[in-house]
Structure formats: C-alpha cells, structure tokens
C-alpha cells in the first residue's frame, strides 16, 4: 500500500475540517477532533522517519513524498517536516482554546483547512502556484476576521483588497524571474522583477506602507482568531519567500537587497513600536505590535549572510506562544471587562491578577524581555543590527522600546486603584480552567527563554533550501 506525505498533511486535515464543518454547533466534538488531529499530525511530522516504510501485520505501507495532481505535483520532503510539525502544533494549541465565548464557530474547521492549504503551498510544484494556495487561505480567513452579524468594517475590505492585489504581482514576478535568469545582472528587467516581487510580498505581509489594515482588523476581530491567523499566514509566507532566494542566484546577489530589507525591517520595528506605545486600545496596539514583529523577521531575513535565516525561523516558536497567550488572555479580559480601552482596564489586576499577569507576560515575551522565549533570538538580531550600522541599531532599539513602554502603561493601568470597583486587596476571581493554561504557558515561555536550543530542530527546515545553507 502506498501513501504520500501530501495525503497525510494536506488531504487528511482537509477532510477532517470538512467533517467538523458539518457540525459547527457541536463545540466539544469540534475542539477534540481538530485539536487531536492537528497535534497528532504535528507529532507525526516531528517523528516521521527519513525512510518511511511501515509494517502493519502483513501489510507494507510505503509513504512517498510526492502526489501528482492535474499534471503538477505537491511534494512534502522530509526536510520541510519540522516546519509542518510546528504549524500543526500551533494550530492545535489555538483550537484548544477555541471554546472561549465569542470565538467564531467556523474557527476550528477553517483554521485546520488553512493550515492544510499553507502546507500544500510549501510543497506545490511549480512553487509559484503556492501564491494561489496562500490566497485561497486568505479568502478562507475572511468569515473568521469579519465578526458575525456586524457590518463589514473598512479594515477587512482593505485586507482583502491588498491581499488580492498581491496575487497577480507574485505570479507575474515569478514568470518574469524565470525569464530574466539568463540575462546579465545589470539588465533593468532584473531590478523591475525584484520590485514587482517586493511589492507583492509587501502587500501580503502588510509591510509599510501597506499595513493600515492591521490595526483596523485587529480592533474588531476576535483576539484568538486574529492572533492565530496573523501568526500562521505571514510565517508561512516568509518560509515560502525563501524559495525565491534559493532558486534565483541573481536575487541573492542583488545589489542593495540586504540594505533594502534591513531598512524596511528597521522602519517597521520603529514605527510599529512607536504606534504601539501610543495606543489606547489593547487590540489596536496588538495590530501595531504585529508590524514590529514583521519588521524583526524582515531584519533577520536581511542578515541572511550572517546566519539570519536561522534567527528568522527561531523567532517563530516564541512569537507563536506569545501571540497565543495574548489571544487567550485578551479574550478573557474582554469577556470579564467588556471594554479594552486602557482607561477601562484600570484596577483590573486587583480582581483578575493572573489574567493581567498573563497579558503582561505575553507583551513582554513579544518585546523580548530577558528570561522569556524571544530574548535569546532577538538579542543576536539586535546585536547584528548594531554591528551593521549604529543608526540602524538605534532605530530597532527605539522601536522595541515602544513595546516595553506600552507594557508599562498597561501595568500602570492594571494596578491603578479603581474606586468604582472597590476591592483594595488582590483577589483571584479567575476560575481554575481559565488560569491554568496561562500558568502552563508562562512556564513554557520561561523554559524556552532559559533553554533556547530546545527549538533548534526547526532550523532543519533550511535544508529544504540547499542554496541558503
């Protein structure tokens, strides 16, 4: 019997998503099915043997790496499995908390389907077709990001428009790049193709100045949904972008590419940090925080000649867990407090100290506080930025400082005594099932901060791109 990796990590989750979709109102069934499937597929990918032949009694099961579809193929090689394992694991984590009130019913099946589509995007041949698969994933995210029963906000329309504009640009750039390979590197077509490609990725990733939808969508979408999608889709797009660097030598050696990427990275960190620090709405602030995080990934990418690609991949786990904690805590704070304006959460920590601590720690993890998961990765990026240019380093530093400033504003608001709410001593109002995941996640974040080598296996993904090692 012959199976293939795309059947396991693309077709199977799509079928499970379809089954879950049939029973949207059976919440527990949906949570168990999607979480177990996602976490099971993550474990399978993590421990999948390099030479996959299994014996089941007298039955010999061989797992191939490729699946042919309509004259093309999807190939999921052994080397990409660490990343696939990672994205399924985080989808599993998010579906586990999808029982929080207000989370769209469709979140569970659609998030699993999106993960499957993004997995297919990582393996489709020709690799350019991934752009279409990613766009289908974006379209699937629309009903999740636009709250049910409410008029579509301008932010979601802007998101859809900008993401759709990216598709033709990426496909066109891919076609142009395959044509300019044979041309001398000083041909104007090379630069034109690179600009079209850059525009496409800029639109996709919400890179400045195409970022305006981020805070708008963030403010009105459910935090669990938003944090999941805004981690999963951009991270996969970044990994997909490595295909271009791997296949086109002239793109890697393009003059000023590193400088341009680091400039945009630093600019996004700076602007994102400043905007985050000045926000009064917690959800909007997170939208801008994402801008900063995209900036860090861009900066790591720009340092590819100094090992930046490893940092780029290592940023993902800490960020995912930080986003998860943010999504979880902010959903519960919204449930208990109603408003998420900074004035409205004054004194919140007196009643809900664990929820408040969870949110603060999520913010601090993303900001890169020592002892927490992102610090060991952000520190070398920051150091390399300073090494490449003091001005660049200062921009990055100030931007990152913005994230800390916002967290301190939040802390001040949380602990400011609120006479209207009365209690003058701390009281734990959270229920056990609410605070237990927070405590576990804080522990995981600290462990990852102390032992960053635990996530090193993820860098194995880079073996998929032989020219980038």
């Amino acid at each position: 019997m012959t199976l293939s990796t795309p059947i396991l990590w693309v077709a199977l989750p799509l079928i499970i998503a379809a089954v879950t979709l049939i029973f949207p109102n059976r919440m527990l069934f949906g949570i168990i099915l999607t979480s177990a499937s996602a976490l099971g597929l993550a474990l399978l990918a993590a421990f999948f043997p390099e030479d996959p032949t299994f014996l089941l009694g007298s039955l010999v099961i061989t797992v191939e790496e490729s699946l042919a579809i309509l004259g093309r193929s999807i190939t999921l090689t052994y080397s990409i499995l660490p990343f696939i394992s990672f994205i399924y694991a985080i989808t599993g984590l998010w579906t586990l908390i999808s029982g929080i009130p207000g989370t769209p019913k469709l979140f569970r099946p659609i998030s699993l389907a999106i993960t499957a589509l993004l997995t297919a995007a990582l393996g489709v041949e020709p690799f350019l077709y991934a752009a279409v698969l990613i766009h289908i994933a974006v379209l699937a995210s629309i009903p999740l990001l636009s709250p049910e029963g409410k008029k579509p906000r301008p932010g979601i329309l802007r998101y859809l428009i900008l993401q759709t504009l990216a598709l033709p640009l990426i496909l066109l750039a891919g076609w142009l790049l395959s044509g300019v390979e044979a041309l001398p590197s000083d041909s104007p077509l090379v630069v034109q193709s690179a600009i079209i490609l850059g525009l496409g990725f800029g639109l996709w990733l919400g890179i400045f100045p195409f970022h305006s939808w981020l805070p708008m969508v963030s403010q009105h979408a459910h935090p669990v949904v938003f944090s999941h999608l805004m981690f999963l889709i951009p991270s996969t797009i970044f990994v997909f972008s490595l295909n271009f660097f791997d296949r086109y030598t002239f793109l890697r050696t393009l003059q000023n590419l590193e400088a341009t990427l680091s400039l945009f990275g630093a600019l996004m960190i700076f602007l994102g940090g400043i905007w985050t620090a000045t926000q009064n709405n917690l959800k909007r602030a997170f939208g801008y925080t994402i801008l900063t995080e995209t900036g860090f990934t861009l900066l790591a990418l720009s340092l590819f000649s100094q090992g930046g690609l490893n940092w780029m991949l290592l940023l993902f786990p800490g960020r995912a867990l930080g986003f998860w904690l943010w999504g979880y805590t902010i959903s519960l704070i919204e449930k208990h407090n109603g408003s998420l304006e900074i004035e409205a959460v004054q004194g919140f920590a007196w009643r809900y100290p664990i929820l408040s601590s969870g949110l603060l720690l999520a913010q601090l993890t993303i900001a890169g506080l020592p002892l927490l998961a992102l610090f060991p990765i952000k520190l070398p990026i920051l150091t390399a930025a300073f090494r490449n240019g003091t001005t660049l380093g200062i921009w990055v530093f100030i931007g990152n400082l913005g994230l800390f400033l916002f967290t301190f504003r939040l802390l001040a608001a949380f602990i400011k005594p609120n006479n209207a709410l009365k209690p003058e001593t701390f009281s734990i109002s959270e229920k056990t099932h609410e605070y237990l995941p927070i405590l576990i996640m804080i522990l995981v974040l600290v462990i990852l901060g102390l032992f960053p080598n635990l996530i090193e296996k993820l860098t194995g993904t880079l073996t998929t791109f032989p020219q980038l090692q």
């Binding site: 077709y129 379209l139 049910e148 008029k151 579509p152 329309l157 428009i161 759709t164 504009l165 077509l189």
Partner: protein
C-alpha cells in the same frame, strides 16, 4: 478572430467604464457578466475553447452568486449620485483609457513581446479600471466586483503566458472564493442594517 478580439476589447472598455461610473447593483452585475464574456474571447486567443470556457463559467457563477444575494437583500432604492461625481468618475475612466493606450504598446514591446497587443490592452484595461474603482468606492459589493474584474484582467494576460490545468482550477477557486466573500459581506451588511432598524 481579429474583429472578434477587437470587439471584445471594446466591450471590456465599455463595461469597465460602466462599472466605474454607475453604482446600481443590477447594472454592475450585468456589466461584470458581459466582461467575463469579453475576457473569454480574449483568452481563446491563447487557450483552446474547452479550457477557456472554464473562465467564462466561473465568472458567470461568481456574477450570479453576488447578484442573487444582492437581489435577496436589496430593500432600499439605490442611492443617486450627483452629476459632479458621475462626471468625475467618467473623467477618471477616460484618463485610465488614455494611459492604457499609451502604456500597453511599450509594455508589450519590453515585457510581453510574444503577446498580442489586444491581450495586453484588454488585461491592462480591466486591471487599471478596477484599481480606479477600488480607489473610489468603499461598498463591499462594488469592491468585490472590482476585485473580480482585476483578477480577470490579470488572467487574460497570464493565460497567454502559462497554460496549466491545475492553475486554472486554483484560479477558479479564487474567483469563486472572492464571490463567496462578497456574498458573506452583502449578507452581513443587510443583517446589520436590519438589526439597526429594529433597534429602538
């Protein structure tokens, strides 16, 4: 075929102008459906009819989906635009037409030397007009129509560059997905308006 493709291009120009200037959902839906017919004719210049017809069917399905949803939801009279705004959008449309006529031959010469000029012009016309439509409207229904037009314009050019059954299938899913997003937005708008009206 030459006459037919020129006619298709003229059709594309007229229908995209109509969609840019007028904001009446029935007219927009019909113009979109006609646009797909014209795009189909241009795609047949590069693809066999059997494959090109997929784009026509998908396009008509997308147009029908959003038009039928609008038909079900539409209760109010269409808002009437002032003459000044109609005139402004008309002038903007003329500007786009002028730019495309200047730009298309140059682009064909430098980037798409193997493509018919009418394909480049048709594709660019739809894309240019759609971008202009996206820049001048905030209504979900009209935005989706613009995005569908934009993709159609791109597909006219891309069809001449690459022929792949898988890609055709995936782009069909994208078009239908966009139409479904439109259906979702229109239903949401109506539901929200309905609940606002019910509220005291």
């Amino acid at each position: 075929m030459q006459i037919l493709s020129t006619l298709a291009f003229v059709f594309i120009t007229i229908t995209s102008m109509v969609n840019l200037i007028l904001r009446e959902w029935r007219i927009n839906a019909v113009a979109l459906a006609l646009q797909y017919l014209a795009a189909f004719i241009l795609v047949t210049l590069s693809w066999p009819v059997g494959m090109a017809v997929i784009k026509l069917i998908v396009g008509w399905m997308a147009s029908a989906a959003i038009a039928l949803t609008s038909l079900r939801q539409s209760q109010k009279d269409p808002t009437t635009d002032s003459v000044a705004s109609l005139l402004f959008r008309g002038l903007v449309g003329l500007l786009v037409i002028m730019i495309i006529f200047i730009l298309a031959p140059r682009l064909q010469e430098s980037i798409f030397p193997n493509l018919d000029l009418v394909i480049v012009q048709g594709g660019l016309m739809l894309m240019g007009m759609s971008l202009m439509q996206l820049g001048t409207r905030a209504d979900p229904y009209l935005n989706i129509i613009s995005l569908l037009s934009l993709l159609t314009g791109f597909e006219i050019i891309h069809a001449a560059l690459e022929r792949s059954t898988l890609l055709t299938g995936m782009l069909a899913v994208v078009n239908l997905g966009l139409a479904l997003a439109g259906v979702y937005f229109i239903s949401q708008s109506s539901a929200a308006e309905g609940s606002e009206e019910k509220a005291p």
